[in-house]
Symmetry: C2
Subunit: 223 residues, 2 copies
């Protein structure tokens, strides 16, 4: 299978609730038009079959865009639908086992929430994980069970020890974009900032730093 | 990996709630001592990591017993822990995709709840599924979203069209055992009948038809 390369610059994590009546597929389509470079399908309540259907729908939306699709938690779903990768949390499959099953062809991402987990990731055999999801960097209401925020200093420390690209997640806004990249992140991941936006395309453009004349200009202090 | 052959004669599906304080591992150990021939780990609420841990614990309990361990729904977990197989429902991974990922080494079981699903299973390429879970045969309180009971006639019809062994599930008791096998089942699967039993070993013995002098003797009409 011909897999799409993973570009972490602006990584959209889907949330069906936040996407609302617009739906996940339409949100993703618009967000990609606005500059999203990677998409993670995340739905912790769907049945496996429903998740397969949703993933296949997104693969169709993403066909020809060069945007990779990853699946949260479910390596089996990722492999069954031919997605480009899987994103694993600390409560998901052990990444070593996942890499063994997936082989070299799939992107494997791993969430780290603190420096100790980042050090554990750095100690893995090269090629076990392809990137780290690092967060929450800022406080976020999206994930009820999120760890304490790392802050920009915490993010910087994690990026410094990591042997793979780091994607910052948690409370990232267009206004915080520059600070996050300055701390060493290779990309930013968002959920609500795009899924709950009235205009996902404009939201993505702003998060890419492309929206000249935005009320909140890039590089300004957060908030 | 050396996998254990799947013997469907008495197939225990675990339920952590029903096992209660005794725990799943102790229940399985006792049930195997009583004659359980296959075990399916089922936990639709656990995190992936917790499911891996539970599966590894059961693999330890089952080591050397010749009893196969299957994992409900989660092919990724089954592969990650080196279980013997996976059991898929109609809302889980498509079985063709699962077989492709799993290769020949894993047992793949599939739930069918009616004759149409059984016919679809029979139309699959040989080797796609290794057995069918057929049910509910009788009404059961264990599965809230269960389909309407097939009854013994429905079970007989499914067994007649199936190209693989059929394991009957749903309201199976020691008293109903003989009827179910007479209808063409190669095995019986139970959840509460063992997990919620005060003595899982004795319950398993009765379900194997080994407990002479039981109040409810084998072959008697149900209820």
């Amino acid at each position: 299978m011909n897999r799409t390369a993973f570009d972490p610059t602006l990584y959209l994590v889907t949330d069906a609730d936040a996407c609302g009546d617009r739906g996940v597929a339409a949100t993703v389509r618009d967000a990609v038009a606005g500059g999203v470079t990677a998409v993670q399908l995340r739905d912790q309540r769907a049945t496996t079959r429903a998740m397969c259907r949703a993933a296949l729908e997104l693969l169709e939306v993403l066909a020809g865009t060069g945007v990779a699709l990853l699946v949260d938690d479910r390596l089996d779903v990722a492999m069954a639908v031919g997605a480009d990768g899987v994103h694993l949390g600390q409560s998901d499959l052990p990444v070593v086992a996942a890499r063994e099953i997936a082989g070299r062809g799939l992107v494997v991402g791993w969430s780290v929430t603190n420096l100790a987990e980042a050090a554990a990731a750095a100690a893995l055999a090269p090629g076990t994980v392809d990137y780290l999801g690092v967060g929450p960097v800022f406080a976020t209401a999206t994930k009820a069970d999120a760890a304490p925020p790392l802050g920009l200093d915490g993010l910087r420390a994690v990026c410094a020890v990591s042997t793979v690209p780091c994607v910052a997640i948690g409370g990232i806004t267009a206004a915080r974009r520059a600070q996050v990249f300055a701390a060493g992140a290779s990309g930013i991941a968002v959920v609500s900032a795009i899924c709950a936006a009235r205009d996902p395309r404009a939201a993505a453009e702003a998060l890419r730093g492309r929206a000249a004349g935005q009320a909140v200009a890039e590089g300004q202090p957060a908030r």
